[in-house]
Amino acid sequence: MNEFDDNEIARLLRLKRYEQPPPAYFENFLHEFHRRQRDEMLRQPLWRICMERAHSLMLRLDVRSLASYPAAVAAVLLCAALISVKIYQQPETARVALQSPPVLSVPANAEEELTLASPGIVRIRTQPLRSFNESAQTHRAAAPTRYVLDSVPVSYEPTFRF
């Protein structure tokens, strides 16, 4: 009598591949799967459904890539803020210089220098009295103003010769 050997058994078992459900089963399986998914979802509490929807929406929008946009906007705003601070700082000091009244600085021995008894070159040192705009127009703005007086006073009377 023949006995079932391994090959025989393998061949017999392969016949079981033909044990299949009706053809319509596989067509309806996906619909059934969707129906069960919906039923399961309806049994879940509302907050969990909302969480899952939000999670899937975030995944669909690819939040990781979108996260770079706020970072870029923040960087641009920071740069703009730094630049604006730099720009507005300089005019602020200029305005202060304009508003400060011109200081007339008279040397301590100014009275002696101004007496007629000691004719000569009298130097009156003053702070520049010109406005900011005027000083900006000349390259000598920073230099102190010098006034030169003649050693002989000017007279309109005729000179008498004896």
Partner: protein
Amino acid sequence: MDQPRVDPDQELVKRTQSGDAGAFDELVIKYTPRLYGLVYNMTSNHEDTNDLLQDIFAKAYRAIRGFRGKSSFYTWIHSIAVNMTLNFLKKRGRRFQLSLDDVDASIQNDKEFLESTATSSPVREADLSELQRRLNEAMMKLSDEHRAVVTMFHIQGMPHAEISKILRVSEGTVRSRLFYANRQLQNYLDEFRKNPVS
């Protein structure tokens, strides 16, 4: 040098992970017939198979966001199917119902079937329905783990390496289980041949 195998389902998996439910539908359509055969031959019951298959895909859909692609989707979904079926069988115990009228009519035209029945073998002497019933009984006498290996190897035609990945056991264990299961089936079917009426 071996090139790393590209998972043919990678694109569908990525689309599913990014929220495209339609991509998962395509995976369901692709794997339903194959997983049906796996689960059915482990449970021998169409109703249980249908319910289990729905649960398997539902679980896969919930878990697919955590799928990192360390194995192929094929291996991953088969692992879920085998584990869930084994858990189900443990709960169900030894209760089962045989489905005796499910052989597709196309089997009558199948070359392999015709060859099997034409040769001088014990198969020729057996009626197809009776033979199937005996085969199902023999299968159900195996332990769940042995039946899983027999189903994957003989019925589904998977290689040992793939089965070992799915079951997370060594290939040696797969071969050992297969050898033992074959002996069990052989003994049972020999008894049937000797005493066909029983």
